[in-house]
């Protein structure tokens, strides 16, 4: 499953652009904006942003999925408004304004979740309001949404959100299967299964993430070697 974000098709940058180096301008199509967050710049597996919710809520799939969707909602909403008002927000107060926009969407996400899925809202507890402190949000607002037209900001927010959601789903599926023997609460192995309780606790999150990153690095290394051989 770790291969999924890596294999994401990323359209080639324009020929005039320099080779891919950190900080290079990203390709400018909406499609590439979406895929970048899922693949090459995946928030969790590549950028290491938002590690706190990644560890805290990925014990069962339903929580990881809900946190991912809530974060996507905030990313898209804040990207839209940051980009929409980028010409009117003065440089001096931009961080305050971005945080205000992000906090508004986080509050909306919290209330909407509590109204629609009270059990998940209860399970996630303070972690939904804490999305406001997820550096992924302010990072995308400052580094991307404030510099591009609305459609690109929304595409980027959606892509980053999907990348975040898929990463959380990957981790929480592993942890729920091993730690509870179930997927989305559906029992997989029957009553004889002895759950690996460790995976439900915070250290299990660190272990799972570590192994996922190890697998990702291994796949990347293999790809690099294959490219060297074929070259």
């Amino acid at each position: 499953m770790t291969a999924v974000p890596v294999a994401a098709p990323v359209s080639a940058p324009p020929s005039s652009a320099p080779a891919l180096v950190p900080g290079a301008p990203p390709p400018a199509t909406v499609f590439a904006d979406v895929w970048r967050g899922i693949g090459r710049e995946n928030p969790v597996l590549v950028q290491f942003l938002g590690m706190c919710p990644t560890m805290a809520v990925t014990n069962v799939l339903a929580n990881g999925l809900a946190m991912g969707i809530a974060t996507t909602f905030v990313l898209v909403g804040s990207g839209l408004f940051v980009s929409l008002f980028r010409k009117y927000i003065a440089h001096e107060v931009r961080i305050t304004s971005y945080i205000l926009i992000i906090a508004t969407f986080v509050t909306l996400a919290d209330m909407l979740l509590a109204a629609t899925f009270p059990d998940i809202s209860k399970a996630l507890g303070p972690f939904i309001p804490l999305i406001v402190a997820n550096c992924l949000l302010l990072g995308r607002a400052e580094a991307f949404a404030a510099k591009v037209p609305v459609h690109r900001a929304v595409a980027d927010g959606f892509g980053m959100g999907m990348g975040f959601t898929l990463s959380l789903c990957l981790l929480s599926t592993i942890r729920e299967v091993l730690g509870k023997g179930s997927i989305l609460g559906h029992d997989l192995f029957g009553p004889r299964f002895e759950p690996w309780v460790f995976m439900m606790m915070p250290p299990g999150g660190f272990l799972t993430l570590g192994i996922a990153l190890l697998g990702l690095a291994w796949v990347m290394e293999l790809k690099k070697r294959r490219a060297l051989v074929t070259a």
């Binding site: 301008p25 003065a90 440089h91 107060v93 931009r94 209330m111 509590a114 109204a115």
Partner: protein, 225 residues
Amino acid sequence: MTAAHQHQHGAPPSTEPHKITPAWRLLATLAIAGAAAGWLVVTVYNLTLPAIQKHAGEQVDGAVREVLKAPARWDTLYLIGNAVTATPPAGSDKRELTKAYVGFDAAGTRIGVAVVAAEPGFQELLTLMIGFDPSTGALTGYKVLDQKETPGLGDKVEVDKSFGAQFAGRIVPIKGVKLVVAGNPNQVQTITGATISSRAVIRIINNAVAKWRPLLEAHDRGGQQ
């Protein structure tokens, strides 16, 4: 602007980075943004509030029904100061008050009273709905409303139904033991691997009943108000 210009890292995002923005503009930006954000939050709050309150009410209703073994109906009593009353003083927010739910069967006989109590468990507050008969001190059952006990161990006080089922009919004060003596109405068997959480449940129940029994008895003596 070309795409390359837009993405120069380190470039200030403002369109006019070198011009100093007048203070009134900064204030106006934040004031307008704050007002818009406030309006949006209030609107969504008003839209979602009925659903959220309905869920909270359903959770309480479900818990009362469970711990009092399906009462035909129940009355709500409110704890005001050091007395229990059926009629809270005018102007007080009923949602904020501490409540006791008095359940009756179809014949109108009192089955028991359900109260909410919270005390520290193994790592966080453990919140229970407790059902008991104030005249005898016998429990009807309990339900965990909120817990953050260790998954797979301490959370058995919520998920392990054979532990929870022991409490019906036990007489307060109860004591947690490793092996119950058959017929002893004051003992329940603690969960292996979750002794602290089991004892926390027992402690919360004992304390809650000890606190509420005199209050409810005083209310009974005073008759229904």
